[in-house]
């Protein structure tokens, strides 16, 4: 048996303050292709109130077919507006590991040990 742990990603939520202008968010995973690449394009973190109260914004992490993104690695990237500052307060990603993920390009397979039905 040889397989890696692959996780699916459902959505990402970011709490931030960006009163000067809009910032941006990108989300990178290593699947498909086994290299870290942005998977949802560039998402806009809209400008927040001038009184600097934080915003919470959520983006779905799905591919072009509406399926959850997948990866063994991931990272988010937040960029501030060119004309101002952005405060990043917190963030959360909703994930679940797939029990058995078999990639044919890597020669992976699933195999049990010899099992008795227990009688």
């Amino acid at each position: 048996m040889a397989f890696r742990k692959v996780a699916q990603f459902k959505e990402i939520s970011i709490e931030y303050i960006s009163p000067d202008a809009a910032g941006s968010l990108r989300f990178f995973t290593d699947l498909p292709g086994n290299h870290l690449a942005t998977r949802i394009g560039t998402k806009v973190l809209t400008a927040t109130n001038a009184d600097k109260t934080p915003n919470t914004i959520t983006f779905p992490l799905v591919d072009g077919n509406g399926a959850p993104l997948e990866g063994t690695l991931y990272y988010p990237r937040v960029d501030p507006p060119v004309t101002g500052a952005l405060q990043l307060r917190s963030g959360v990603v909703w994930v679940r590991p797939i029990g058995v993920y078999l990639d044919g390009t890597l020669g992976e397979f699933f195999e049990t040990l010899p099992i008795s039905i227990g009688v």
Binding site: R89, G91, W94, V100, F109, T112, I117
Partner: protein
């Protein structure tokens, strides 16, 4: 751990999704008392569903082993499997769960490693020198008076030991 009773296998259910075809093989230890491949089935390319594989009906063994391999560059996500078996010489069929690492139905929140912004305000001291509560003695710039007496000579011209001659001018 070996068991004396033999089971006959009838069906395999696999809860999976596959981007291309794959292969499922079932190995048992009978006949011959050595694990060998007894059944080979093709896994279709499919979205997630339970795929049922009907076995020959004569495949049997004390032990069985299941193997799943994707074909080519395909990806298979395996969520679960079970096997339909009957213990000989009985006639009762039952499903037996094949141990597959589970995939949770629920999503788990994974916090991003963003340094926390505290809810409380913290006092940050400005670099202003502190004014002490206590008074400090600051001596005035008065020159001190010496404790010792110092002789001070009076301005009296001393009498020389030898007389000094004085030239007195005389009228010529």
């Amino acid at each position: 751990m070996g068991f004396e009773r033999v089971a006959i296998f009838g069906l395999i259910d696999a809860d999976l999704e596959s981007t291309s075809t794959g292969t499922l093989t079932l190995s048992t230890d009978l006949p011959g008392n050595a694990m060998a491949v007894r059944e080979t089935k093709t896994i279709p390319a499919t979205g997630r569903r339970v795929v049922r594989f009907r076995l020959l009906g004569t495949t049997k063994g004390h032990l069985y082993k299941l193997k799943i391999v994707p074909t080519g560059s395909g990806v298979i996500r395996l969520y679960g499997a079970r096997i339909w078996a009957r213990v000989l010489p009985g006639n009762a069929w039952a499903w037996y769960v094949v141990p597959v690492p589970p995939t949770p139905e629920e999503w788990t929140a994974q916090p991003l490693p963003i340094p926390r912004t505290p809810e409380e305000w913290t006092a940050a001291r400005l670099p202003i020198p502190e004014t002490p509560e206590q008074w400090t003695a600051q001596p005035l710039p008065i020159p001190p008076t010496s404790e010792e007496w110092k002789p001070e000579p009076l301005p009296i011209k001393p009498t020389p030991a030898n007389p000094e001659w004085v030239n007195i001018e005389v009228d010529s």
